[in-house]
């Protein structure tokens, strides 16, 4: 039961932190349409966060709801992967982070549709429609920027290279992930990674980008609560209100 709680936190925290990151760009998008797309994706991810963390709280049975889990845990208790806490950076970096995340997220949701846990399968069923739109958009943008001007191509290739070492953690399974696979709750890593690599490869080919080596060394630790220095700053802003005014409500 503890494994499943941890697994749910990972899903919820990934969506929560990426949502928080993208929503910081609200009103700052490079074009009006992009600004709206960013906030829409952030909203979808926040909605998904609520479903994951609400379930996690129920399973834990200690009276912690989605709000407590989101706003009252410190960095070492957060279970998001390192990818989502990387800075927004330039727009190529924002989109590349999104593309790597969406590519993994989409295939994971597909796997979770068949989860032995009915509630998880339902959340996946709800999420995958949204994630499909997310991945179509981020893939389109990678192609546009990669196969764009020499300047946009250079920035996009650099973003692809720099973020690559954060694209593997989701496929490096630990005891929690293995327990979930064993119980039929979550899909195995290998097919998931194969689908991810195939999709990223196709998009990069069309985008005239060079895909970094799949065998490259990958950063890890976020899922276990060992985070980069960026997460503390994200939480400081995201959690300020609930820390300063406990129990505050709209």
């Amino acid at each position: 039961m503890n494994d499943k709680f941890e697994y749910l936190l990972r899903q919820g925290d990934n969506a929560l932190i990426l949502s928080q990151q993208i929503s910081q760009l609200c009103g700052k998008g490079p074009a009006l349409e992009e600004d709206m797309a960013l906030t829409n994706v952030a909203l979808d991810l926040l909605g998904q966060t609520r479903m994951w963390l609400a379930y996690a709280g129920e399973l834990e049975g200690r009276g912690r709801g989605e709000d407590q889990l989101a706003y009252l845990r410190d960095a070492h208790d957060m279970r998001c992967c390192l990818l989502v806490e990387q800075p927004n950076g330039n727009y190529a970096e924002t989109i590349m982070r999104q593309f790597y995340f969406d590519s993994w997220h989409y295939f994971l949701m597909q796997g979770l549709l068949k989860s032995s846990d009915a509630r998880i399968a339902q959340i996946a069923e709800k999420s995958i429609k949204e994630v499909t739109y997310h991945l179509r958009r981020s893939g389109d943008l990678v192609v546009r920027m990669g196969d764009g001007t020499a300047h946009s191509h250079g920035l996009t290739q650099a973003a692809a290279n720099d973020l690559w070492m954060y694209s593997g953690e989701m496929f490096i399974y630990d005891g929690v992930d293995d327990a979930m696979v064993e119980q039929g709750v979550a899909p195995a890593s290998e097919p998931l990674r194969a689908a991810f690599l195939e999709h990223v490869g196709e998009i990069f080919a069309e985008a005239t980008l060079v895909m970094p080596a799949p065998s490259a060394w990958m950063q890890r630790g976020g899922k276990q609560g060992r985070h980069s220095e960026h997460l503390g700053f994200i939480l400081a802003e995201m959690q300020f209100l609930q820390r300063a005014y406990p129990g505050a409500q709209w």
Binding site: E33, E34, M36, A37, N40, V41, L43, D44, L45, L46, G47, Q48, R50, M51, Y106, Q110, A121, Q122, I123, E125, K126, S127, I128, K129, E130, V131, T132, Y133, L135, R136, R137, G139, D140, V143, A195, H199, E202, I203, E206
Partner: protein, 172 residues
């Protein structure tokens, strides 16, 4: 008031008067959000499903449904939030689609069944090429501006004939 006094059909028709808070010309029933109405003793149980998981209108919709039934004398109302089967624009009624068009929002252009499809659902060019009719002049000569519009459920289009930009209620 209880099952003896009020039929579920009556409750459905009352809910048909409850507007979507974002798009007031369409009711929550026409939008396909209300999935079931049942009596459990003297308690009216209404099952609703969110359009998008982050839809901020859901809380308002739940309150509006409760208020409407209270207004008709049904005092015990329980709302059940159902995730599966996930909401789809296929559940939108024809009356609802006509109301959207009259309001200046192009209704969903096709049956969805399953937006995500299999792997092809996210392959480049896999997104179906839709003919979206301009709600202002009826032209089919329209172009997608952005997959994401003013709310999660809408995309931005523009008409290449009358030059008006418009919202399109996208397939989901």
């Amino acid at each position: 008031m209880s099952a003896q006094a009020v039929s579920t059909e009556q409750v459905w028709s009352w809910l048909g008067q409850v507007s979507d808070p974002e798009i007031p010309v369409i009711s929550v029933v026409d939008l396909g959000i209300v999935r079931a109405v049942e009596w459990a003793g003297d308690e009216c149980v209404v099952t609703i499903t969110p359009t998008y998981s982050g839809c901020p209108a859901m809380a308002v919709i739940a309150q509006a449904v409760t208020d409407a039934l209270h207004g008709h004398g049904v005092h015990k109302v329980r709302l059940v939030n159902q995730l599966s089967p996930a909401w789809t624009t296929d559940w939108m009624s024809e009356a609802g689609k006509a109301a959207l068009k009259g309001y200046g929002i192009a209704p969903p252009a096709q049956q969805v069944i399953d937006i995500s499809g299999l792997h092809g659902g996210v392959k480049r060019g896999a997104a179906p090429k839709l003919t979206v009719l301009c709600p202002n002049c009826g032209s089919s000569h329209t172009e997608l501006t952005s997959q994401f519009g003013s709310t999660p459920c809408k995309a931005l289009y523009k008409c290449l004939d009358c030059r008006e930009p418009f919202d399109y209620f996208k397939c989901h």
